[in-house]
Symmetry: C2
Subunit: 194 residues, 2 copies
């Protein structure tokens, strides 16, 4: 049955607006047009639904990063495309980052969910680390220090901008992404002496 999948996807959507902790079975049943008990039939406990959501996010993140990995663009181009994908997704939108939202409901998460959620972030971090490493070798991307540490700055900046956008408007996302790109650009000439 893909009723199960339907529930998972609606849950992800609602997590982005009200968070995992505040999300209720009634919210889901209202929006899906089925009874609360029907959701419990597919996911006995809320925790089971939460874990399915995290697993789905692993799959999504794996798929998205793999698509960019294979796209044939330059390293810097891959970063740019990733940023602009996110910017499009969060333009004029009142949702927040699902990873950040779940991290914030830390105290409501089961151990399984925590492990799975960390995996989602790992996949994203590995994706950035790989691009940064090869980009620096090819002199397409410029930064100092370990690529894995620079990947943290990128991932956290993206997450933070998206989280603040509901409060401050999507301009904050555009500005953050532009600044990230600027700071990673290879220096054109002597213009970056100080």
């Amino acid at each position: 049955m893909d009723r199960k999948q339907e529930i998972v996807e609606m849950t992800i959507e609602l997590i982005q607006t009200m968070g995992y902790g505040n999300l209720s079975f009634k919210d889901l049943s209202d929006r899906l047009g089925i009874a609360k008990a029907s959701i419990h039939h597919h996911f006995a406990k809320k925790e089971d639904l939460g874990l399915a959501v995290c697993n789905q996010m692993v799959e999504i993140m794996t798929g998205v990063t793999a698509k960019f990995d294979e796209c044939g663009n330059s390293s810097f181009g891959k970063l740019e495309m990733f940023f602009s994908m996110l910017a499009t997704q969060w333009d004029n939108c009142q949702k927040t980052c699902p990873i950040g939202s779940l991290q914030n409901d830390f105290y409501k998460l089961s151990e399984d969910m925590k492990i799975c959620l960390q995996k989602v972030e790992d996949i994203q971090l590995d994706f950035f680390t790989k691009i940064l490493t090869e980009g620096r070798e090819l002199k397409e991307i410029s930064f100092q220090g370990p690529a894995a540490d620079q990947a943290l700055i990128i991932a956290f900046s993206l997450k933070g901008a998206i989280q603040s956008a509901r409060l401050r408007g999507s301009d904050i996302i555009i500005r953050s992404f532009a600044q990230l790109k600027l700071s990673l650009q290879p220096l054109p000439s002597a213009s970056k002496i100080n």
Copy 2:
């Protein structure tokens, strides 16, 4: 009465562990050793308590940034001190960033709380912008683009690192802060040609 203040401070602490939405009057009354109704006497609605919390955060952020502004250190030194203050505060700690936590419960916030919360972030962003501007002039800090945009990267990186630390451990904070410092350091010599 500073019972009122006591309630606000405990609320901030609990927001950092369970979030504003999941926080209940019973949680507060248990920890403070007073009855639920007594809290309602000081703050009729939960929304009133929430607004008091946001106002308190404005005061705290104002005080902290003012302290660093006046400390006489170099621009880069001020940044370093701010980072190490946060790193100390979040070492071996299971709390999250109170600003990020409240931002995440966006859909539970009153309009007043949203305005006030944005102000907290504004104060922090202005603080960073000012340091970055004067630091670049004095050639103590190096970055490209508008100082206000670079301030976003710093603020969001700090917030993101603290949010991920509960899941990944406080190492992630150390690494993020070190990488931020590295990327803002003035170039020592020709070592940053690419």
